[in-house]
Amino acid sequence: MSSPRFKRVRGSRYWVNHIMHALCMLATLAGISSLFLILGFLVIQGVGAFNWDLFTQPESSGLGISNGIIGTIELVALASLLGVPIGVMSGLFLSEYGRRGRFGNILRFFTDILNSTPSIVVGVFGFAFIVVNTHHFSALAGAFTLMVLMIPIITRSTEEIALLVPNSLREAALALGVRQWKVILFIVMKTARAGIITGILLSVARVAGETAPLVLTALGNLWPNRSLTEPIAALPLEIYNFATGPDPKLWSQAWAACLILVLFVTLTSLLARLSTRRSTLRK
């Protein structure tokens, strides 16, 4: 047999290859261009509406969104107060005690259920559980709902990152006679710190933009909130109300609010990425 001669592929296979190549490229381009279309409009419409009043005046004056900014910060902070420790602790439980075994698996399953439950359903839960029973839309109900949304994200990311901590580190510490709770606190958590923080940041970014559950629980408020048992404003709620309302002046405030929200979310996820990159684990 003579040595094989390589011929370039021609015919239908050749053309199909190139057409599909181009189509895949087009698909990618379509996704990216819709991103730029959204961001572009956001910047064009939002930057023009930025002014001092926007950040200092409450909704009731018709000039600003300060109560929404404060409200979102308040809601997210309240949600994190319980959500972060519970999320991190159950994540550590999964990685340190629950790798196998019945409770670990049950917990993992329930966390996954919670993670994939639509936020509106969690909102319905907050509504049926707190608002119906207290007869009030309130900041507490809103914060509770955001907390429920936050926990599973933190739990799974903490578990994933703590599993990356090499077992040799744990064993070395245990062999030196360090007790296990100290190993978890000072070896596992310390090594995985950057990753755990990333998970927390991502969950904050995700929860800060949630609207649907807040419509059912926090309701919105034209004035800064005085008490946690009263309705509270939030940035996403303001966007929703302004955008669906008839007033063009409020539309441009809503664009500005969108821009603030998107900037916050993007910066947070960028920050999260940077902190993971610096982590010793991901190297």
């Binding site: 994939s116 839960f125 955008a243």
Partner: protein, 317 residues
């Protein structure tokens, strides 16, 4: 000799503290199901299964006619808008995943996948506002007339056209689930061993032959899982859909007419719900939505797990 395992008080205490946090999650999920079931019980008691297949949603309280609650228009709207979203997003998402994983030059992969991920970070209400002011007018002026002129003989594309419609909702949902489908499909493709690719290339396959014959079949169940995960997302999306779908209580055949989804009816009408049965009917819709997404996500996860087991065991057809 087995060393005696001794657990000092602080150790077991610490374990119990962590376990309590875990128990809290389990309790929350249990509570969520229980509360929704209890609150919506009167509705199912009064309307039975008719709540699900009844097409008449009429909450207004008249003296001569009691309010009726049938969730079919919302179930229909949820299914149709999300399937429309899948029809648009699946080819785009798979194409993007294939491009990123198989075709793109290495230096492009990280920045492009970051941009696609960014699409997932944009809050739903921002999509809604963009849809309200740009996408809906654009679709109404340019895309819908074209579709109804060319495909108008199919009832789904029949005129007249409205901007706030099922079609707009499907398009915006497609953009929103695109990053999820892409990300999961990419993971699945990345799990396909290189020996599959090399074997195909060695048989003088072109790149596309290789993808079609050696990569996609290997990852098929994982890809179906990715699609299902995207579907689960689309089913529960609320704000963006609420802002563009037009919110009509009636089932219309044409995609260019207004519709309603389960999620958006809850968000939209909860403030108007003035009497207990109305509130309970909305909570019942929440429970239905939970059940549906639970099933869809469960199936998706099973498929993805099966895929990762196959690729780890190294066995394939």
């Amino acid at each position: 000799m087995k060393p005696k395992r001794f657990s000092l008080p602080p150790d077991s205490l610490f374990k119990w503290i962590l376990a309590t946090a875990g128990l809290f999650i389990v309790m929350i999920v249990g509570l969520m199901i229980a509360v929704m079931a209890i609150e919506s019980w009167p509705v199912f008691q009064q309307f039975g299964l008719q709540f699900i297949y009844g097409g008449d949603w009429n909450p207004s309280e008249n003296a001569d006619r009691p309010p009726t609650f049938g969730a079919l228009p919302f179930i229909y709207g949820t299914v149709v808008s999300s399937i429309l979203a899948l029809i648009i997003a699946v080819p785009l998402g798979l194409g993007t995943a294939i491009f990123l994983n198989e075709l793109a030059p290495r230096f492009l992969r990280t920045p492009i996948s970051f941009l696609v991920e960014l699409l997932a970070a944009i809050p739903s209400v921002v999509y809604g506002m963009w849809g309200l002011f740009y996408l809906v007018p654009f679709l109404h002026d340019h895309i819908m007339p074209f579709l109804s002129d060319t495909l108008g003989f199919i009832p789904l594309f029949a005129p007249p056209i409205r901007g706030f419609s099922m079609f707009s909702a499907g398009v915006i949902l497609a953009i929103m689930i695109l990053p999820f489908i892409t990300a999961v499909a990419r993971e699945v493709l990345a799990a396909v061993p290189n020996s599959q690719r090399e074997a195909a290339l060695a048989l003088s396959a072109t790149k596309w032959d290789m993808i079609k014959k050696a990569v996609i079949p290997y990852g098929r169940s994982g890809i179906v899982g990715a699609v299902m995960l995207g579907w689960g997302r689309a089913l529960g999306e609320t704000m963006a859909v609420t802002m563009v779908i037009g919110n009509s209580h009636f089932i219309k055949t044409s995609l260019f007419q207004a519709g309603y989804t389960m999620a958006s009816v809850i968000a939209n009408e909860i403030r108007e719900a003035t009497y207990p049965l109305y509130v309970e009917a909305l909570i019942a819709i929440g429970l239905l939505l939970f059940a549906v997404t639970f099933i869809v996500n469960g199936l998706a996860r099973l498929l993805i797990i099966r895929m990762s087991k196959v690729s780890m065991g190294g066995q394939n057809e």
